[in-house]
């Protein structure tokens, strides 16, 4: 038989029993919709969960802190003091999958001045070449600074100062809006654990405002609310500051530069974070990452996705049984016809193909219509399903703003159409086999 004739004959057979075909197709549609929507909800939950995690910070960042708290097997919290210096830094740098590594000093004892107006802000002091490696927000303009051309650049998070500088004149505070591109700024270090030598001039570092770099909003809160200074520049300034201290404190101050509070690593991929943490553990250091806390939640979300998919699969299974039933009925009805066809020279293979085609078409049409409906259901869920999902998910995880509850990735429709057709063909397989085994002589006797 020519393929065209086969298709024509198959379609015609399906149209002969319109109601039955329609009902079977509806079965497949329901199966497809349930499986697609369930998977899409699972994916949506996963994505919105991941998005909410991303808001709180980079998932690939691992921190090794000098003062590390960890929970032991008995659930008791234990403090571990770790000595972090340049040697440790070099050893950690050797670990595979580490994309960027930098010591980090959090300094709250620095003030930005514009004339007599000033503002306190958090300074993160780290290796300037690593800004990009840590995925810090894009700049408003220009490129990230680097050590060669602008070692003393200050990188200002969009929320870090907001131009609000204050001056307290004894009665009430006055504020001044500062434009970092035009106003002359300077920086002062005021570390009260050390005593200043009153005979020396107070440390004040003038900032070259050409290198005040404002970043654009990133949604990554830590980067948005901090100012960043390169660690080498900072050390230089700190040494100058140390010179203004009393002799006795000067050594202490300089020594403090040798020890780091934190070493921060950025891992190339989320999936390698735990591996890197194990390596750090082997070197004898405790480390922390957001992934640690997210991992179990992530597993829960994935489990949820699986369970939802399984529920959808049950519906699909039912529709597969439905197709098989329809095909078996169809064979009983057409026994005589099959016999006639065989006697007239129809090949066994063609009989099989005909039935497989009919079953496959039911699956394919059901699949395609099902996909269309899935998009509709998905849209309805995203538009009106907010409250239901909010209450469903609020227990364990937050829902990120603007995220969808049901996400249909581009591969899902193709998968569903293919899957629908396969379900049809597979459930049509045994009926088709049965059709080929019908004896022509018996078939023709039947009425």
């Amino acid at each position: 038989m020519r393929i065209f004739d086969l298709i024509r004959m198959g379609l015609r057979n399906l149209l002969r029993r319109k109601a039955r075909t329609l009902l079977t197709v509806i079965g497949v549609i329901i199966g497809t919709v349930s499986i697609v929507v369930m998977i899409s909800v699972g994916i949506g939950m996963n994505e919105s969960f991941e998005a909410s995690v991303m808001q709180n910070g980079g998932m690939t960042i691992v921190q090794v802190s000098a003062d590390s708290w960890s929970e032991d097997e008995n659930g008791e919290w234990k403090q571990t003091l770790q000595n972090l210096d340049d040697k440790v830094l070099d050893r950690l740098r050797q670990i595979e999958h580490v994309k960027a590594i930098t010591p980090v000093i959090n300094n709250w004892n620095m003030q930005l001045f514009s004339g007599k107006y000033s503002t306190w802000t958090q300074f993160m002091i780290m290796d300037m070449d690593c800004y990009e490696g840590f995925g810090y927000p894009a700049l408003e303009d220009g490129t990230y600074p680097n050590k060669e051309n602008s070692a003393d650049a200050i990188y200002i998070g969009p929320q870090a100062i907001q131009g609000q500088f204050q001056y307290y004149d004894g009665r009430r505070p006055k504020t001044k809006d500062v434009d970092i591109r035009t106003d002359q700024l300077s920086i002062k270090i005021q570390d009260y654990q050390f005593q200043v030598n009153p005979r020396k001039k107070e440390f004040e570092q003038k900032l070259n405002n050409r290198y005040m770099i404002q970043a654009s909003e990133s949604g990554y809160s830590q980067a948005d609310y901090s100012c960043f200074i390169d660690i080498d520049t900072y050390k230089e300034w700190y040494k100058k500051f140390a010179n203004t201290l009393k002799i006795s404190d000067r050594k202490k101050a300089l020594a403090s530069l040798e020890k780091y509070e934190t070493i921060m690593l950025n891992v190339d991929n989320m999936n390698n974070v735990s591996e890197v943490q194990e390596e750090i553990e082997k070197l004898g250091f405790k480390s922390m990452s957001d992934m640690q806390y997210i991992e179990p939640m992530k597993e829960t979300a994935e489990m949820m996705e699986l369970v939802l998919g399984a529920i959808g699969a049950v519906a699909m299974l039912v529709s597969a049984i439905n197709i098989a039933n329809t095909m078996i009925m169809s064979i009983y009805e057409r026994t005589k016809e099959i016999g006639i066809m065989k006697v007239l020279g129809c090949k066994v293979g063609d009989v099989r193909k005909l039935f497989l085609f009919e079953a496959g078409i039911i699956g394919l049409i059901g699949g395609i219509v099902g996909i269309g409906l899935s998009y509709l259901v998905s849209w309805i869920l995203n538009t009106y399903g907010g409250q239901i999902f909010q209450s469903l998910m609020s227990g364990s995880m937050g829902v990120a703003e603007g995220s969808s509850f049901s996400v249909i990735p581009f591969w899902l429709p193709f998968f569903a159409a293919f899957f629908g057709m396969m379900v049809g063909v597979l459930s049509g397989f045994f009926p088709a086999l049965r059709a080929t085994k019908i004896s022509a002589i018996e078939a023709m006797k039947s009425e």
Partner: protein, 263 residues
């Protein structure tokens, strides 16, 4: 003129019914020549239909051999057999066996569909032959909308449309009244003569065998006698010998299945 197109050599068909073995066809041998109209005549249960089915490859031989155009029907694979049927065989059935959902035209086209003939050519051939059988204005009718005689004409058109060398007819007039029977028989004869085709017809009706060139009398799965009809005589006067035996008598004898203990 006589070259055998069908050779049946010691053909056997044995059915097992529980412990009993029923020898439906029991060592039959004969030949049919090309262009011959051969009639298998026998009462119901005589094994004539089984013999026809064996010759058409619809049923499997239990023993012996059947050669059609020199090829052994029994030894063919399912696919080979389908192909062989497409090329060489046509069928006319007692109950017409038309496909109810298809029009007359589509029914006639069917063998050509399996033969992978293209649509336009197929339609032309089918229309032409439907015209020949006198159903020019019935081509778009479904079987249910036609009389028995018309349906059988469609059946005949279907059997002849691919110009097979052999057409098997199993009681082609069994469901028709006597007037239509004559029309249908004349039609079969006419169609076959036109292309020098071979007809093998099964019937229990002594009168129908008058159309045949060769009559093979079958009784209890065996050949009773072979009769060659000389058509140079007028068919009306040709009352073949042994014709007077009433039909009922052999029926009661042959309906009891022949069972034998030996192999």
């Amino acid at each position: 003129m006589s070259e055998p197109i069908i050779e049946v050599k010691n053909a056997k068909k044995i059915y097992k019914m529980g412990k009993e073995r029923i020898r439906a066809v029991d060592g039959v041998s004969f030949t049919v020549d090309k262009g011959e109209f051969c009639c298998l005549l026998g009462t119901s249960g005589s094994g004539k239909s089984t013999l026809l089915n064996l010759m058409a490859g619809i049923e499997k031989l239990s023993g012996g051999q059947i050669l059609i155009k020199g090829e052994s029907i029994g030894g063919m694979s399912e696919n080979k057999l389908s192909k062989f049927r497409q090329e060489n065989l046509g069928f006319v059935f007692q109950s017409y066996n038309l496909i109810g959902s298809m029009t007359a035209l589509e029914n006639v086209e069917l063998p050509l569909v399996f033969k992978r003939v293209r649509g336009s050519k197929r339609k032309k051939l089918a229309k032409r032959i439907l015209k020949q059988v006198g159903l020019k204005d019935r081509i778009m009718h479904k079987p249910k909308e036609m009389s028995g005689g018309q349906q059988q004409r469609v059946g005949i058109a279907r059997a002849f449309v691919s110009k097979p060398d052999i057409v098997f007819a199993d009681e082609p007039t069994g469901n028709l009244d006597s007037k239509t029977t004559i029309e249908v028989m004349e039609l079969i004869k006419e169609m076959a003569n036109k292309n020098h085709q071979t007809i093998v017809m099964v019937t229990h009706d002594r009168k129908l065998s008058e159309y045949a060139d060769k009559i093979i009398h079958i009784l209890d799965g065996k050949i009773e006698s072979v009769e060659i009809v000389d058509h140079h005589e007028s068919p009306n006067t040709a009352a073949p010998p042994g014709d007077e035996v009433p039909q009922e008598t052999p029926v009661s004898e042959t309906t009891a299945p022949v069972t034998e203990e030996e192999k």
